[in-house]
Structures are given as structure tokens and as C-alpha cells.
Point group: C2
Chain length 404, copies 2
């Protein structure tokens, strides 16, 4: 049971290679992005359950007794959760007064929270009032797994708060759960993702949970044993795009020119395999040659992604600007705008990086220097959280709180 405050965080994700090709049975590599979502949970003094999501200006609070009425008649076996209970979702929608089909971030985030809270606490003897505050470094809707990082944090925090998982904080270190516990976190996070996205692949929550890198092939998700942490620049072109439309466009291109397009998907598949091999080698001793290959794979895949029709002038510009400084980029995710990643070598100096960022920002892009291969969900002690994050997590929200 929760006897003290918990702070957990989970990373975002980027697709390193294999976006779009994965839809056609090819290997994709997803990696944890060290832009994290942080969650603080503490006992509430007033037997209320509160949810604060300052990123999306959402501050809600419910009376514990009203939530109890939603408790499922059965006790969920927390280790064996499989698919969401649609009856409960329906009940929660009615409780929230929300129409089916509402796609608003705030609504979906609240629905996922309430679903996880009620389900996880259903088998608990003591319902407790808690206050949950979540803050993310990830932009939403950019294909960076922000919703997955959110539900991974929720799952880890709620499962810990109700005593299903250990709270392995030991002195003031960042700590992680064991493998079995991470599997339970991932299962519950996947439920949350299904509530938010309908039919997610499960890749985003797996990356958020396990961190590092994982391979995704024909629905099977396998974390890689060991991967290096790589410096990158993440750029959001802010050009809006529809993943659905882009996926359909690739399908159309395959139908229009099968003999031209299918080999390109095969080549992308081989790029993912080559990259997996190189990452494995780099984990034990990265060399300049490894970086040369990673850069070459970026360049080739970026050409391939253009060939299958998911490029965009904003991404071409990103590649041109970075290449002018000797840096190699590719789009990541759906393409057609959205985000790109630029590989930074260990020796890339900060003056170069700053210049590149300046030029990219002058194009109206958002830019973050961060890294990939980051750890998955983790538990923090208060002092291990960056100050700017602490400030947000500890800011009283009562002024904005909407009592329901």
C-alpha cells in the first residue's frame, strides 16, 4: 500500500528503422527516447481522487465514494489482464458524461486513468484517495509515444500504490522493477493504450516499459538484449499529417508499382536487420565505423521512405540543413511531415549542434537534443528528479481543480 509519495517516469519512443515497412510484415526497430513523462502520486488528505495533467490543462477531482460505485463486480486478476472490459469503459463514459467517439486528449487521458484506477483497485481491500500529477517532456500527437509513456507511468504508479508491485526505492537512487513486474506494468499500459487508441500495436507501451530498443515483426515485440545510448537531435517539423492517409498511400503505391515498391520494403527490412546487428556490436564497444554505418543506413532509409511516398519538403529541408553540418537525418514514424531524427556522434561538438538547432528553429521546427536507447519505466526518489520537473509536479493545482 502507498505509504509515501512515488515518482515514476517513462520514456517516449521513436522508430529507428522500419516505419511503414512493418505494416507489410517487415522488421521495425523502436527505441526509447529520453524525453520522459513524469508522474507523482501521493495519498490525498481528503479521500478524493485527483488527476492533474498540466500539459493539457486538465485538473479533475472525484469523490472516492462515487468512484467505488464503478467498481467491477468481479475482482480482476491483475497479473492476467488481457483485453479491456468494454462494459466498464461504457460505464465510465456515462459517469464522465462523454459521448462515444470523443477523441479529445483530455477525455481519453481521463478515461484511461479512471479505467486503470478502478480496475487495479477493484481487488484491493482499501480504496485510497490519491492525487496524481503527470507532466511530460513529449509533445502530443507527434508519434513519439506520449500516450504510452502516460499509461506506463499510470500502470506502474497505480500497481505500486495498491501494493501489487514492490516500491524498490533504495536510498536516493533511480530504481526499476523486476522483469515479472515490468510485464504486469506493460500489460496494464497496453489496456490504457487500447482505451486511447482503439487498436494500438503495443510497441509504444513496450518501449515505455522496457526502454532500450525492441524489434517489432509481424506483431511480435522483443526487447533487444543490450543497446548503446545514442545522442540524437529530435526535430518536429510541426507539419501535420494523417498516419492513416500515409499508410494508405504506401499501400496504393505497392498496388500501382508492385515490382518497384516491394523490393524497397525488402531493402528497408535488411536495413533494420543491419541496424540491429550494429547496435548489438556497439553495446560492447562503439567505434567510428559503427557510426559510419548508422549514418549510411539513415541516408538510405530516408531515400526509401521518399520512394514509398511518405517524405515531405519539410523533411528534405531538415536533411539538407543537418547534412550541411555533416549530420545525417531521417524521418521517424509516419512521415509526411512530423518528426525526424538526426544522429549525433559522441564527438559532435556543442557549437555545431547549437548552430543546427538554430537553423532548424528558424524554419519553424521544434528541436530537442536528447538520446535514444534510454531506460524504460523507473522509480525516482524526489531528489533524483530534475528541478524543472519537480517544480511542476509539486505546484498546487487546487486553483484549477474541477471537482466532479
Amino acid at each position: 500500500m502507498l505509504d509515501k509519495e512515488l515518482i515514476v517516469s517513462a520514456p517516449g519512443k521513436v522508430i529507428l528503422h522500419g516505419e511503414h515497412a512493418v505494416v507489410h510484415g517487415k522488421l521495425a526497430l523502436a527505441v526509447a527516447l529520453n524525453m520522459r513523462t513524469y508522474l507523482r502520486v501521493g495519498l490525498s488528505a481528503d479521500s478524493r481522487v485527483s488527476l492533474n495533467l498540466p500539459n493539457i490543462n486538465t485538473f479533475l477531482s472525484w469523490d472516492l465514494s462515487s468512484l467505488k460505485t464503478l467498481m467491477p463486480a468481479y475482482a480482476t486478476e491483475l497479473q492476467k489482464v488481457d483485453k479491456p472490459d468494454h462494459g466498464l469503459i461504457q460505464q465510465l463514459r456515462e459517469f464522465m458524461g462523454v459521448l462515444e467517439g470523443s477523441m479529445e486528449n483530455s477525455t481519453l487521458a481521463t478515461l484511461a486513468f479512471l479505467y486503470l484506477y478502478v480496475s487495479i483497485f477493484a481487488g484491493s481491500r482499501d480504496w485510497i484517495g490519491i492525487t496524481v500529477t503527470v507532466w511530460s517532456e513529449l509533445p502530443t500527437g507527434a508519434g513519439l509515444g506520449s500516450s504510452a509513456a502516460y499509461v506506463v507511468c499510470l500502470s506502474a504508479a497505480l500497481l505500486s500504490a495498491c501494493g501489487v508491485l514492490s516500491c524498490p526505492v533504495n536510498g536516493c537512487q533511480i530504481s526499476r522493477w523486476n522483469r515479472e513486474e515490468l510485464e504486469i506494468i506493460n500489460k496494464w499500459a497496453f489496456q490504457g493504450e487500447k482505451i486511447i487508441h482503439g487498436n494500438p500495436s503495443g510497441v509504444d507501451n513496450a518501449v515505455g516499459t522496457w526502454g532500450g530498443a525492441l524489434r517489432y515483426l509481424s506483431g511480435d515485440i522483443t526487447p533487444l538484449n543490450s543497446v548503446p545510448i545514442l545522442r540524437i537531435l529530435l526535430t518536429n517539423t510541426q507539419v501535420p499529417r494523417s498516419t492513416k492517409v500515409l499508410v494508405a498511400g504506401v499501400k496504393d503505391k505497392i498496388l500501382k508499382f508492385p515490382a518497384i515498391t516491394i523490393p524497397v520494403l525488402d531493402s528497408i527490412n535488411a536495413i533494420s536487420h543491419e541496424c540491429e546487428k550494429i547496435l548489438g556490436e556497439m553495446a560492447t564497444g562503439p567505434t567510428d565505423k559503427h557510426y559510419d554505418v548508422l549514418e549510411e543506413l539513415f541516408d538510405i532509409n530516408q531515400h526509401h521512405l521518399n520512394v514509398i511516398g511518405v517524405g515531405h519538403p519539410s523533411l528534405d529541408k531538415l536533411c539538407q540543413i543537418t547534412l550541411a553540418h555533416g549530420l545525417h537525418s531521417k524521418l521517424t514514424g509516419a512521415g509526411g511531415g512530423g518528426c525526424g531524427i538526426t544522429l549525433l556522434r559522441p564527438g559532435t561538438d556543442s557549437i555545431t549542434v547549437d548552430k543546427v538547432i538554430k537553423e532548424l528553429e528558424d524554419c519553424g521546427y521544434d528541436c530537442w537534443e536528447t538520446n535514444i536507447g534510454a531506460p524504460g519505466v523507473q522509480l525516482h526518489c524526489t531528489s533524483s528528479v530534475k528541478e524543472e520537473i519537480s517544480e511542476i509536479l509539486w505546484t498546487p493545482s487546487s486553483g484549477n481543480q474541477q471537482n466532479l
Copy 2:
């Protein structure tokens, strides 16, 4: 026998699709480029044989009697020529006082001329003094088949002058030889190409002879039945490159990343096949949709050529500049600099074309608005030759002539 002046011309060539991939057994499409080489041959008044090549400042003249000493002991069967007589080449080198291995344009052009003159006239009863003047619109060494256009013109003119071929000039029209005659011209031109290049593919002389477009696959060269004439912009970036080094680079890439690179060659192969299909359809009725596909194939192949390592920043720039005006380009030939082609639609207005040319010339590139799918070797009457060409072909060269 030559009883009047003859003027012949032959086109250059560009590779439309399949450059580099053809080295690895894939289909390539070569098309005749309507930048032509013109040759004028007339009887000389003084029993001398003269060769004027004003493009490369070469003006030579030999006494007929000295050339007669070079005549092979055997009479060549002109229809069945197969491979060059290396003894004769050696004799001609000695006659010219040229070391083996000399690669100078002027030397090689003279050697090819003397070889063809002596071989073709070997079986003739009457050796005649002639004056040959050749002028080309093609830049040399740019991969545009300028040497092939030269030897095709030489073969056609000399075979006609010695009476082996008809001289089908009929009133003042441009006329062509029949199929059997073109085959003989092509065979002799191939001999000339071998003298100049050592081990040529035979594609360039075939394009110069047959015109239109032809497929080249595993050493087999087949003219396409009917092809449209397409407007293009030909751009020479003037960036020098070594075809050998580029070909070796592609081979290295295949060895380094076989699973990534081989599918790209397969895709290029499919592009050539698709393009062949579209050209066949366009010959009977071109539509906007055909042009859409041609543009798309240009874009895809340009990406592929970059992937296999034969791109160049100068070519990227060419593609960017033309695309900014809605025009699609790809490199043609060896890449790594060299030439690119830009497809122009029938409706592309001259203001746009002029703007694009201006911008390309501002980059230091040479630019020609021309077309592809042009006729092969042809026979002109005097008045069917463009005035600027006539002026050059009829300019007396005696001031420069070097008597040997």
C-alpha cells in the same frame, strides 16, 4: 561511288533508366538524344584524304598514296566485320607516330577515322581522295555518346562513299538507310568504338544508328519498336567523375550490404520495365497520366541512384532547382556529377524552361533544351541542315590543315 557531297548526322544518347544496374544484369533503356554529330564528306580535288574536326581543333591531311601502303592484304568482307584487326591498328599507330595507350581525343578520333577509311576502302577498286568534316553539338566525355555518334557518321559516310551502301537522298528530304544497311553501319561503328574505348558495350553506337530507344540486357541490345519523342532539358553539371570509380563503388556497396543493395537493383530493373511499357503506350497516344508515371519513375530512380552511391550534391541541386518549378530530374549515365535529364511536358511553357535554364546556368551548369527518342543516323541534303551547322561544315580549313 561518291559522285556528290554527302551530309550525314547521328544522335547522341542518354540512359533513361538502368545505369549501373545494367552492370549487374538488369535492364537498361538508352534513348537517342537529339543533339547530333554532323559529317560532310566530298571528293577532294588533290587526291588527298583530309579530316577536319573543328570541335577538337584537329585538321589533318594525308597523301592517298601513303594511305594505300596501309591497305590490308586481304579484302574485308564489309557485311561480316566482327572485331578490329589489331595488326592494322598497330600499323596505323606507327604510321601516325602515336604511342600505344595514348588516350587523347584527337589521337583516338584520327585512329578510328584512318582505321575505318583503310578497312572500308580495302576492297574497293578505286581509292578516292576525300575531305571529311565533322562537327558535333555534343560535349565530349560527358557520357552522351559523342564518340559513337562520330563513328556512326564515319561508317555511314564511308560505306556510302565507297558504294557499299545506297545514297538514298531523294529530292531535299532527310532520308535513312534500310534495316540491312543500318546493321552494316552499326557493325562498323562498333569497330570504331572499340578502337576508341577498348571494350564498349555497343549501346552507344546502336543508339546512334537506330535512334529512338533501345533495351540493353545482359549484352543483348534490342531497339524498341516505337517510342514517342519527349522534350527534355539536358544539364551537364560539369563536375568531373570517373565511371570506373563509380562502378567499383556500386560493387563495393553490394558486397558491403548485399541484402540492402540488391533489392534496389531489382527495383531499378522494374523501373526500366515499367518505363518501357509506358513508352510503348505513349507512342500511340500520350496522356498526362503517362507523363505522371514518367516523372514518378525519374524521382524513384534518382533516390535509388543516390542509395547505390552514385549521386552528387551538384545533381541534388539540379533536382531541387527543377522541382521548384514542378519539373522532375534524374542523373543520367555514370552519375557522381556529369549529366542529368529533366522531363518537360508538352505543356511546359518556355518562360518556365528559360527560368530553369537561367538558374541552372547560374550554378555553372551547361544546359540544352532538346528531345529524346530522336531518329538515328540519317542522310541530309544540303538545305536540310541547320544554318549554323552548314556554316561550320563549309568553312575552309586549309589555314589550319596539317599535311602528313
